[in-house]
Symmetry: C2
Subunit: 212 residues, 2 copies
């Protein structure tokens, strides 16, 4: 054998990093590139960019932040799953919300990491995921299971989400092409299901649970 066809070592893990905060993205990329068996082959600042970069670089693992402008990490994960079925997905997020974990898993993610955990766990998770394991914080998994699924119907979810920015009922009705009474009814049942006392509390619990 005269020459190796590719210069890269067989065991190097090719990673795509999608994270909107430039400083965090740069720091994480540096951190990962220090590992002998990991190489960051692509970076993206939002979900859409992550998909185009992934199509070009064909990474072994995609590291996706949830909180990104435009297409969020979970939505991007679902699209990526179709485009590159062999690419493992690691979801990285600021908030360990039960609903996030549930949706991430349903979108085909292999790991779910919160940014609170130590930095060394990132590389470890990437290696474990490539070995076929699933990586989830046990405490968070328990919380997600005990919290149960999203109790809101799709329409209740829509209306609650549209009310989250302080819009008045009239605004929401106009935006969703519903009558004001209907909006009030959906809000009322959303408030009941979230055990809240008003719309604001309902929005907050729903967000805390990752239901929006």
């Amino acid at each position: 054998m005269i020459a190796v066809s590719s210069s890269r070592v067989a065991s190097v893990i090719r990673v795509l990093l999608a994270e909107d905060q430039g400083m965090v993205r740069g720091a994480l990329a540096t951190l990962l590139n220090l590992e002998d068996d990991i190489e960051v082959v692509g970076e993206a600042a939002d979900g859409d960019e992550a998909l185009t970069v992934a199509a070009r670089t064909r990474p072994d693992v995609a590291l996706l932040d949830i909180e990104m402008p435009g297409k969020d990490g979970i939505t991007a994960a679902a699209s990526l799953r179709e485009a590159l079925p062999d690419c493992r997905i690691v979801i990285l997020t600021t908030f360990g919300r039960p609903g996030y974990l549930r949706r991430a898993m349903e979108s085909g993610a292999s790991a779910f990491l919160v940014k609170d955990s130590p930095a060394k766990e990132l590389a470890a998770a990437i290696r474990r995921v490539l070995a076929g394991e699933r990586v989830i914080d046990p405490a968070l998994a328990a919380a997600a299971l005990s919290a149960g699924p999203n109790p809101l119907s799709p329409r209740e979810r829509d209306v609650l989400a549209a009310s989250a920015d302080g819009s008045t009922i009239g605004d929401v009705a106009g935006r969703l092409h519903l009558s004001e009474g209907t909006v009030r009814n959906y809000l009322s049942s959303a408030i009941r299901k979230t055990s809240a006392r008003n719309r604001i509390e309902a929005v907050q619990t729903a967000q805390r649970q990752g239901w929006l």
Copy 2:
């Protein structure tokens, strides 16, 4: 002179890093330690810890995240300013809110960085700050100046902040030892001053401006 009393190089910059998200903190520390002239001599996960670690390590520069549990970065900056007047302060934050910038500067910070900016700017800012410069994103500075100061009176601010979590007027009145009518009056004027249509919008604009 028989021996140098300290083994450290004269030009090494000793940095304290306060950031609550472990993964980000670890990655930033790694990034900074890669620089020849910078050494992270202490890490902290919240504002109070930052103060104790700073007292022990006496850093040249303190890198403080704003969004931390317990004592936030701006409050910590003010305390640090008293305890270690020679320590330069760099504020690092997710949100480039005008009010944050203003308060950070009033607390004695020398630099204000948003996490959106590229990772390489961090080390650059640390060096410039130590050289006596102030480092502020020009666009953000302009926004802070054009936005003007916080129009809310201290009490309006209190009441609005207490209403942010969806509490009812009765709750807020009880918590702040005010009559319900007074709370309504303060909320009403806060709503007027923020050009909002209701309490929720008022809370949102106030937060977006960094007025809470």
